[in-house]
């Protein structure tokens, strides 16, 4: 086996140190959640938006089976985003109605994706109806992804390090979704 690129190894080392630093300076993935009736945790809005996106994908896949396979993996990405936000929110996540999944990562996303299908997500607000053509429906999703990528990216600019890393990853994922929407 050829050795891994030296630079890649260096990058990997930097990442490890970075994670440790982030963990030390800001207390790990669950940031302190205000228990007093102060301003709501800003991640709650991002979580609500992810759940809206999941609902929009579910509705579009139910209406247009032809694009279902194409949208499935994107929908699963959003399920993973929502699960990671729930983890980051910690106790604050329970202040909003939501899915019971609390584990982060793609396994939570794929299990949610395989079981849900067109089922009703418990927390998602009933959004606007699915447009009358598949092209229009996908265009709506594309616009929603752009908007979501921008929103998550903006919050990432001033968030604590661990949250900035999470939100930046979600934002980049959503930017890449635009490229796969037919």
């Amino acid at each position: 086996m050829v050795a891994v690129a030296r630079r890649s190894v260096l990058i990997g080392g930097s990442l490890g140190v970075g994670l440790l630093v982030a963990g030390c300076t800001s207390g790990g993935p669950s940031s302190p959640a205000p228990t007093s009736p102060a301003a709501p945790d800003p991640l709650l809005a991002e979580l609500a938006d992810e759940r809206s996106l999941i609902a929009a994908y579910d509705a579009t896949m139910a209406r247009y089976p032809a694009v279902r396979a194409r949208l499935r993996s994107v929908r699963d990405d959003h399920a993973a985003h929502a699960a990671a936000l729930v983890t980051a929110l910690g106790a604050a996540a329970s202040s909003s109605p939501g899915e019971a999944t609390s584990s982060a990562g793609s396994s939570a996303g794929s299990s949610a994706g395989s079981s849900a299908g067109g089922a009703t997500p418990s927390a998602a607000p009933s959004g606007s109806p699915v447009p009358a053509t598949v092209a229009a429906a996908v265009a709506v999703l594309r616009a929603a992804e752009r908007s979501a990528a921008s929103a998550r990216g903006t919050v990432a600019l001033t968030a604590p390090p661990d949250r900035a890393r999470l939100l930046a990853g979600i934002s980049a994922s959503e930017a890449s979704h635009v490229a796969v929407l037919p």
Binding site: V2, A3, V4, A5, R6, R7, S8, L10, I11, G12, G13, S14, L15, V17, G18, V21, A22, S73, V74, D76, D77, A80, H81, A84, S106, G109, A149, G153, A156, L157, T158, P161, D162, A164, R165, A168, G169, I170, S171, A172, S173, A175, S176, H177, V178, A179, V180
Partner: protein
């Protein structure tokens, strides 16, 4: 991790945001990755085939622009920009179109990892914005290469790991 000593020689440009921290380390991580990616794209271009040469050229150009911009930023924040390595070992042999495209995906995933690290390594909003844009662009390019290969799924929930 490389932490070059800051250059005491002042070029006359004041530090853009003296209140932020971690800018140089964040930018150097991204810059080191960009050097490796540009080296790798030379190999991608040699094996990707004529039909994809325009995509290779576009992506290579984008990384060269980002590299140059990042070198400038490191200098503005008082750092000594890291240099490219003369050579980088490959994660697997690159001999044909498929392995070339897998290398392109690997390179963009590496760039995404470096810039995602950079986002959290500084609290400077402008450097974070640079890193975030670089991360998103790398994620989009990785997705396009996955579509070209093709391989599924073409997106990941957390680009850069």
């Amino acid at each position: 991790m490389t932490t070059p000593a800051p250059t005491p020689t002042d070029t006359g440009t004041p530090s853009p945001t003296p209140t932020g921290t971690g800018q140089v380390q964040a930018l150097q991580t991204g810059l080191a990755a960009e050097h490796a990616v540009i080296w790798g794209y030379g190999l991608v271009g040699a094996h990707a085939g004529d039909a994809l040469l325009a995509q290779v050229r576009d992506d290579d150009d984008a990384h060269r622009t980002l590299r140059d911009d990042t070198i400038g930023l490191v200098g503005r924040y008082g750092g000594d920009p890291v240099s490219t390595e003369p050579e980088y070992a490959l994660p697997f042999p690159v001999t044909d179109r498929a392995s070339a495209l897998r290398l392109a995906i690997h390179l963009e995933e590496g760039a995404a990892a470096a810039w995602r690290y950079a986002v959290a390594a500084t609290d400077d909003v402008e450097v974070r914005r640079t890193a975030l844009t670089a991360l998103s662009d790398a994620a989009v390019r990785a997705t396009r290469w996955r579509l070209a290969l093709p391989t599924s799924p073409a997106t990941v929930a957390f680009p850069g790991g």
